[in-house]
C-alpha cells in the first residue's frame, strides 16, 4: 500500500466500539489487529499463535519474563520480522509483507531497547531524520538549496522545535548525540520517533536502566504524548509499577505464547500470569 493509498483508508475500524478508561479517556476503535501470529527462527518458535488488538488512543503494554518474545512482537509490528503465519490488519486492511522503511511511512514509529540513535549527528539532526516522511523536496532542489528544500527545512524545523520544547531538551539540541548521558539519549530517541507524527508509537523498554527520577520523567512524557497528541502507544516494560500505572490494557507473554490480556487489574489477578512471574514448572 503506498502512502497515497493509505490516505484514502478510513482511519478506524468503525465496527468495534471503544471503551472508556478508568481515568475517563475515550478509547476508539481498533487501529491494528494481530491475528494468529506465529514467528519462527529455524526450529525456534519465538511467537506462537498470538492474537490481540490495539485501539486508537490507548496505551497498550506488552509484558512478560525475559525471552518471552515481546521484542520479537514489536519487530513484527514494525515490519522488521515477517511472521510465517497469521495476519496483521492495520486500519482495516491486511498489511502485506513489506520492508521496514515502508511500514514506517504508514505511520508506525518506534524506539529501541538498546538506544539506536545516530551517534555522529546532532540531536537536532537525529530528530529531523525522524521527520523525513514530511519532507518531499526533490534531489535537485536540495542540491541547489532552492525552493522547496529550504522552505521545508524551516517548516519542519518548527515542528521539531515543538517536540524539543515538549520533551524539554532545548539545551542540547545542537549537541552531538555521542556526548549525551544515557537518560537523555532515551529521551532524544523518543523525540525522533515522535517527530514522525506516528499513528502508532512503539516503545521498547523506554525506562530500562533509568533511576527513579528519570523513570518518572519518562512516564510523564509518555502520558503527555498520549494526552496531547492522542498517539496510540504500545510499550514493552519490565517495571511492573510503571506498566500498571501507565497502561490501559496489558498483553502478557511467556515462552512465545499469550497468557493474559486485559486491564492491569485483570492481568494482575490472572493465575497464569502469577505463575509465569513467580515460576512454576512448565510441563
Amino acid at each position: 500500500m503506498t502512502v497515497e493509498q493509505r490516505e484514502q483508508v478510513p482511519m478506524l475500524d468503525t465496527q468495534t466500539e471503544g471503551y472508556v478508561t478508568a481515568d475517563g479517556r475515550q478509547i476508539g476503535g481498533v487501529v491494528m489487529e494481530l491475528k494468529n501470529i506465529t514467528l519462527r527462527f529455524g526450529g525456534v518458535v519465538a511467537i506462537k499463535d498470538i492474537s490481540f488488538d490495539i485501539r486508537h488512543g490507548e496505551i497498550r503494554a506488552i509484558i512478560g519474563p525475559n525471552g518471552a518474545g515481546k521484542s520479537s512482537m514489536l519487530n513484527v509490528i514494525s515490519g522488521f520480522y515477517n511472521p510465517q503465519e497469521g495476519e496483521l490488519i492495520y486500519k482495516g486492511y491486511k498489511r502485506p509483507q513489506m520492508r521496514p522503511y515502508k511500514v514506517s511511512r504508514m505511520g508506525i514509529a518506534r524506539t529501541f531497547q538498546n538506544i539506536a540513535l545516530f551517534e555522529g549527528m546532532s540531536v537536532l539532526d537525529n530528530i529531523m531524520t525522524g521527520r523525513m516522511h514530511h519532507m518531499k523536496a526533490g534531489f535537485l532542489s536540495q542540491a541547489f538549496w532552492w525552493g522547496a528544500a529550504a522552505r521545508e527545512e524551516a517548516e519542519n524545523r518548527e515542528a521539531v522545535e515543538k517536540i524539543i520544547d515538549f520533551l524539554e531538551i532545548q539545551a542540547i539540541r545542537k549537541t552531538p548525540v555521542s556526548r549525551l548521558p544515557y537518560g537523555l539519549k532515551k529521551r532524544v530517541e523518543l523525540a525522533r520517533a515522535l517527530a514522525a507524527e506516528p499513528q502508532i508509537l512503539l516503545l521498547d523498554e523506554p525506562m530500562a536502566g533509568m533511576n527513579v527520577e528519570e523513570k518518572e520523567d519518562m512516564s510523564r512524557f509518555i502520558l503527555d504524548v498520549n494526552d496531547e497528541f492522542g498517539t496510540t502507544t504500545v510499550l514493552i516494560e519490565h517495571d511492573m509499577g510503571v506498566v500498571m500505572d501507565l497502561s490501559d490494557r496489558v498483553v502478557v507473554m511467556d515462552y512465545g505464547k499469550k497468557i493474559g490480556d486485559g486491564t492491569p487489574e485483570e492481568v494482575m489477578n490472572n493465575q497464569d500470569v502469577i505463575d509465569a512471574y513467580l515460576g512454576v514448572s512448565h510441563d
Binding site: 522503511y101 540513535l117 523525513m132 518548527e158 514522525a196
Partner: protein, 358 residues
C-alpha cells in the same frame, strides 16, 4: 574577542541553520572568496600554479566526493582512481566526438557519466559492508584501468595508448592544452571548486545528507525510521562519483593535458585521496580542503625547505620527504583521530572562551 556568538541573535530557523553561524566566520569566508577570485589570479606564477594551487583545487573536489561516500554515508571505497579515470576518459571521448561542445559542459557531463558508472559499482554495497565493500570496489579499480588501457575505443586507438587533451576555449580564453595560461586554468578550477563545495554543503545539510549519515551511523535503525537503504547508498555513490569524475576530468583536461590510465589513475591515486579524507576529517567539508592541502602543499614545502634552503641533493630530499610525510600522517592521526577538521573544531571552541579560562 571577535569570535563570539554572543549578541548575534538568530530569529529565524534559516539564519540559525546557515553554514557559518558566527559572524566572524562569515566575514572570513567572504574575504577568502574575494581573495581567491580577485587577488590570487594576478599573483599566480606558473610554478605556484602547477606545483601547488591547481592540483590542490582539483584534489579538493576529489576529496569532497570521497568524503561524501566514506565520511557521510560510511561506504568504504578504494576505486577513486578508476572513477577519476572514467571522468578523464569521458572528457576525452566527449570532446573529441563533439568538438563544438563547451568544455565546462563536457566536464559536467563527464561527471555524470562517472556517476552512472559509480552507481553500477556501488550496487554491491547493498549486500556487503565495510572492508568487504572496499575489496569489492578494488575490483572496479583494476577492471576499469584494464579497460581503459586495453580497449582502443577509449583512447581513439592512439599509438601510444595515451589520451591527450585538445585545445578548448571558454569565452575566447584558452583553458586547456599546454598553451593555456595559469590564470585561465586557475579560474576554471576555482569556479568548479566553489560550485562543487557549495553543492556538497547543500546536499549534506538537508534530508539527503541526513539519510546518508543515518545509514553510516546505524543502518538497521535508519531503515526502521524510514530510510530506503537502496536509494541512500546509491545516491551517495552517484554524487560521490560525480565529484570524483569532475576531478578526474579537470586533472586530465586542464592539468595533465595527456594521460595514460594505469599511470595517472592507478591505485596510488585511490589511496592518496583516501588519505586526504582521513587526515582532513571524515564527514566534514572543511576536512576535505584541509586534507587535500596537507598532502599537496606539504611535499612542496618540504622540497623547498630541504633542497632550496638547506641545499640537500634532490634525490635524498625526495626519499626523506616521503618518510617525513608518513610520520606526520601518523602524528596527526594520533593527536586527533578525527582529522584536522576536528582539530579546528576544538580550536574554535577554545577561541570562543578566549581569553577567559571558563
Amino acid at each position: 574577542m571577535l569570535y563570539r556568538e554572543a549578541g548575534d541573535f538568530k530569529s529565524t530557523y534559516p539564519s540559525d541553520n546557515q553554514t557559518f553561524p558566527i559572524r566572524f566566520d562569515r566575514y572570513a569566508y567572504w574575504a577568502l572568496i574575494g581573495f581567491a577570485f580577485l587577488v590570487v589570479p594576478f599573483l599566480l606564477t606558473d610554478y605556484w600554479a602547477n606545483s601547488i594551487v591547481i592540483p590542490l583545487l582539483i584534489y579538493v573536489i576529489a576529496a569532497l566526493g570521497l568524503n561524501i561516500l566514506i565520511g557521510y554515508c560510511g561506504q568504504l571505497s578504494l576505486g577513486t582512481g578508476a572513477f577519476m579515470a572514467v571522468g578523464a576518459y569521458a572528457t576525452f571521448k566527449l570532446t573529441t566526438a563533439f568538438p563544438w561542445m563547451p568544455i565546462y559542459i563536457v566536464f559536467i557531463l563527464a561527471g555524470l557519466v562517472t556517476a552512472a558508472v559509480g552507481v553500477l559499482f556501488g550496487l554491491p554495497s547493498l549486500k556487503i559492508k565495510g572492508f568487504y565493500l572496499a575489496v569489492a570496489t578494488l575490483a572496479a579499480q583494476f577492471f576499469l584501468i584494464w579497460l581503459f588501457t586495453r580497449v582502443g575505443w577509449f583512447f581513439n586507438d592512439s599509438a601510444t595508448g595515451m589520451i591527450s587533451m585538445p585545445e578548448r576555449t571558454v569565452f575566447g580564453v584558452l583553458v586547456t592544452g599546454p598553451a593555456a595560461s595559469a590564470m585561465a586554468v586557475y579560474m576554471t578550477c576555482l569556479v568548479f571548486v566553489v560550485g562543487m563545495a557549495w553543492l556538497a554543503r547543500n546536499l549534506t545539510r538537508g534530508t539527503v545528507g541526513r539519510t546518508w549519515m543515518s545509514i553510516r551511523d546505524m543502518d538497521i535503525a535508519a531503515e526502521i525510521i524510514g530510510v530506503n537503504p537502496l536509494i541512500a547508498k546509491l545516491t551517495a555513490f552517484a554524487v560521490s562519483s560525480f565529484f570524483v569524475g569532475v576531478a578526474g576530468a579537470l586533472l586530465f583536461g586542464v592539468y595533465l593535458g595527456a594521460a595514460e590510465a594505469g599511470e595517472a589513475f592507478g591505485i596510488n591515486k585511490s589511496f592518496l585521496v583516501l588519505f586526504m579524507v582521513i587526515i582532513g576529517g571524515l564527514g566534514s567539508i572543511l576536512g576535505s580542503f584541509l586534507g587535500a592541502a596537507f598532502l599537496i602543499v606539504l611535499p612542496v614545502l618540504l622540497k623547498v625547505f630541504l633542497v632550496d634552503a638547506l641545499g640537500w641533493p634532490a634525490d635524498l630530499a625526495r626519499h626523506l620527504e616521503v618518510m617525513i610525510i608518513g610520520a606526520l600522517i601518523v602524528l596527526v592521526l594520533i593527536v586527533e583521530p578525527h582529522g584536522m577538521a576536528a582539530l579546528w573544531r576544538t580550536a574554535k571552541e577554545k577561541l570562543r572562551l578566549w581569553p577567559f579560562p571558563h
